[in-house]
Symmetry: C2
Subunit: 344 residues, 2 copies
């Protein structure tokens, strides 16, 4: 039996709750007018993430509005390369832009000496959030997984095909391993610091895990997850970790079995019965309503949400989307979803 009292932590400890706890990836963000109002006051997106007054406030907005069971630290996965000294910026309407790293010499120029100094505002945000959150709400810290962060580090932006980074991994795996190792180590100590600051659970986002063939997935997704989770759990054995290898398809089962995660976040392409039989037998599951169904509204929200509850709520389930809330999603659609999940 778990000694936890917060619903999300109880499920992460293996309990089955009905109704299940619920939060939504990107619940803090552009679908909320109050978010857009505050965002307009910040100079740029990274600055917004590094200003505790703002990051605390936007993290709390969806908690006030929707009474979610979890708040996730408002930040970005690219704070790690930024803290390591790579030039990172966010071009409005065009996404992240980085001075790409494509040689060993460029990898060697990454510096981790000032990592925690650079990320201190993030830790302050975590500490303040932990004090301000209602007592039933779990505070989730997060980071990007090394593979996904590496795709941005090497491609220099979002990519459609990841050719540059994937070619490097095939052509010179020892070189690419060096980059992955640096990201693995910084991510590990970043997550540990978040726990020290007050994070009660962690989620690691591997948004582009789905583009890798099985042997590459093993090396660039499974292995770094194992290292990070092993090291975090050495320090904090009780802190639950949610892994999100988005698009992993058939590799979700291996991921659940091998990485040591306490829960697996499922994208919307994962069939529910398969997830029940091959993932939920190993860990709790989180997911996986299609964010497009939530955006579209109408009957699809109810039909899709009920199917998820039917198949997955007999075991440990955290209700969530399969990916983040889309900017044009009406607040009323989120409210309707919460009524359905909570059986109101």
């Amino acid at each position: 039996m778990t000694t936890q009292t917060k619903p999300l932590l109880r499920v992460l400890a293996g309990e089955t709750l009905n109704p299940p706890p619920v939060w939504l990836m990107r619940q803090a963000g552009r679908h909320l007018q109050e978010y857009k109002d505050l965002r307009a006051k910040a100079e740029n997106f990274l600055n917004f993430c590094y200003t505790p007054d703002m990051a605390v406030e936007v993290t709390l907005q969806p908690i006030r509005r929707y009474s979610m069971d979890a708040a996730i630290l408002f930040s970005d996965i690219l704070v790690i390369p930024d803290a390591l000294g790579q030039k990172v910026s966010f071009v409005p309407g065009a996404g992240p832009k980085l001075d790409p790293i494509r040689t060993v010499a460029e990898i060697d120029r990454l510096q981790d000496e000032r990592l925690h100094e650079h990320l201190a505002p993030v830790y302050e945000t975590v500490t303040r959030l932990r004090k301000e959150l209602p007592e039933d709400v779990t505070l989730i810290g997060f980071a990007g997984a090394p593979w996904t962060v590496a795709t941005y580090v090497v491609e220099g932006a979002g990519s459609k095909d990841y050719h540059t980074v994937r070619s490097w991994a095939y052509r010179a795996p020892a070189e690419f391993q060096k980059l992955i190792d640096i990201l693995t180590e910084s991510t590990t100590s970043y997550l540990i610091k978040q726990v020290e600051a007050g994070a009660e659970a962690l989620q690691i986002f591997d948004s582009w895990a789905g583009v890798l063939p099985p042997d590459q997935f093993e090396r660039w997704v499974i292995a770094p997850f194992q290292k990070i989770i092993g090291a975090v759990k050495d320090r904090f054995p009780q802190v639950p970790i949610i892994g999100f290898p988005r698009g992993a398809g058939l590799q979700y089962a291996t991921f659940a079995e091998k990485t040591g995660v306490d829960a697996v976040s499922l994208d919307s392409t994962v069939p529910l019965e398969w997830a029940r039989d091959h993932v939920q037998v190993h860990t709790a599951v989180q997911g996986n309503l299609d964010n497009l169904a939530l955006l579209a509204g109408g009957e699809s929200i109810e039909a899709e949400a009920k199917r998820i509850l039917d198949v997955l709520s007999k075991g440990p389930l955290i209700f969530n989307l399969g990916h983040g809330v889309l900017p044009d999603t009406p607040v009323t659609h989120v409210e309707r979803l919460l009524e359905i999940v909570r059986g109101d």
Copy 2:
């Protein structure tokens, strides 16, 4: 027992051959200098596809150079919306561009009366190819699947997230069904005409099948495939059909079981043992070397190709890539791969 003598057709009829027949998606294309030389002479890409002298020649180039077991008609999946009257163009370096269709009124303006007149040069290309190909080489005709073609029709270009088309499918499924039905019917009669012109096998490409959740996959991928394959096989029961629902992950097994295809083309993320146990039990399989491994060269080609042969060559296998040959792939890498597959 099959009465076929061509290696590719024997495997499609269920035989296991060692070495397996081999061809590569996009074997005719920019990785060949002789292709680029000819392409430079055409006014634009669609014009290139619609000029039998050119299309025949580029289809034959990889057959001459590599002695592949199959030639695939050189064309593009967007000839269907082009033939239906949607404005389609190819912007060099930026991919296809279409005047997007987003209302029922716009769907109603699509016209199929002149479909075959418009596509007559494609049929002429098929007929000429059939006469010119060496006797052991199978001629494959092809088309895009309705879902994938619809993503271009609605988004107006390649997309990263397919939000517009996927929202429409959720918001107004009956409207979107109308578009899918038009594409299903035109594709069916387009493929039948290709067989009449001389195609000996067909491949249907659903390149963006992987973005759909299971119930959407059922409706927009499985159902149209069933209709097309049913109708083609009514006319030509002996013509084998290869389906390629790229990125379908866990849904590859359902696809193999339900659609009536004779072979399933596997992308590189599909684990080999799983494909053997869940797909190859239903149909022949085709694939699935990572095109990035082929581009990178070195040891990865040999290691990856041998794993595929080890696991999948005990059943009906057509060796291929998991996606098309990339433009920068050296010819020597393709030659090395063929030596490995053929055991030279």
